[in-house]
Amino acid sequence: MSEERKVALVTGATRGIGRAIAEQLADAGLFVVGTATSEKGATTIAEYLGERGTGVVMDVADDGSVADTVKHINEAHGAPLVLVNNAGITRDNIMLRMKADEWSDVINTNLNSLYRVSKACLKGMTKARWGRVINISSVVGTMGNAGQANYAAAKGGVEGFTRALARELGSRNITVNAVAPGFIQTDMTDGLPEAQRETLLAGIPLGRLGAPAEVASAVAWLASDGGGYVTGTTVHVNGGMFTG
C-alpha cells in the first residue's frame, strides 16, 4: 500500500447505506467520490464529506455517463482503487403482474452497472497492483423474497460476478467481495406497513433492523489492509435472518 491518499468511488452515496459507507471510508483516510443521480444529491454528498471527498452526478444505468464520469475522476482526483458498487433500486411486484421495464430497470441499474463501473475502474487498480471492489448485494439474493424476483435475480447475479472477478484479478492483488445486508433502517424500509414490519422482525434473531453504519463497517473492513486476505466471498450483515 502506498502512502499516497487513496481514492474511493462509492455509487449511490446520497443517503442510506451508501452515505454511511462514504462517511466511514472518509473516516479511514480515503478521499471519497460519491455519486448521485441528481445535482442536488451530488451537492449533499459534497457537503457531508467536506474536504474529505466530493460528490458527482453519475447514472450507473448509462454507459456514457459512467465512462465520462470515471474519466473525469481519474483526471481530477486520481484513479479510484477502492470501488463500492452500492447504487440500486427496487421495483417490487409479483411476477404475474411484473412489467418488462420493472424487470429490466432493476437488472440494468443493479447488475449491468457492475459491468460498466467495474470495467471503467479496473485499469487503474491493475496498474497500481492494488485494488478493492466491494459490491453491495442483499440477503434477498440468497433467500429470495416474494415480490422481488427482479431484485433477487440481480443480487444473485452480483454475487456470481463477485466470485468470478475475484478469481480473475487475484494475481494483481485486487480483492473482490460482496456485502449482503438484511433489513436496514433506510428510506427503503421506512415505507413498510406496520404489520409487515412485525412479521419481518419475528424472523430476525437479533429482533431489530440494522443500522446503515453496521453495513458500512463491514465495507470499511474489506477495504482496509486488515481485510486484504478476503476475496470472492459474501459477508452477510443481517441480524441472523439468514444463516448460511
Binding site: K123, T126, K127, L169, R172
Partner: protein, 77 residues
C-alpha cells in the same frame, strides 16, 4: 532517441519479465513469451502510456505479436 522497435522491446521486457533476445519480431506474447490474457491487457496499457496514445479495445485484441505492436505504433504516431 531510441527507435520505436527499441522502446516497444523495452516495454515488453519490463512487462513480461522476458529476456531482450527473446523479443523477436515474430514472437507471440501468449505462445512464445508466456503472457496470460491479463498480461496482454497490461502490455497494451503500458504501450498507451509510453506512446501517449489510446488503443481501442477492438484494436488492442489484434496486437498479439511484437511486430503487430510495432506496426500499430508506427501507424498511429
Amino acid at each position: 532517441m531510441s527507435s520505436i522497435e527499441e522502446r516497444v522491446q523495452k516495454i515488453i521486457v519490463e512487462q513480461l519479465g522476458v529476456k531482450p533476445e527473446d523479443v523477436k519480431s515474430e514472437a507471440s506474447f501468449v505462445e512464445d513469451l508466456g503472457a496470460d490474457s491479463l498480461d496482454t491487457v497490461e502490455l497494451v496499457m503500458a504501450l498507451e502510456e509510453e506512446f501517449e496514445t489510446e488503443i481501442p479495445d477492438e484494436e488492442a485484441e489484434k496486437i498479439s505479436t511484437v511486430q503487430a505492436a510495432v506496426d500499430y505504433i508506427k501507424a498511429h504516431s
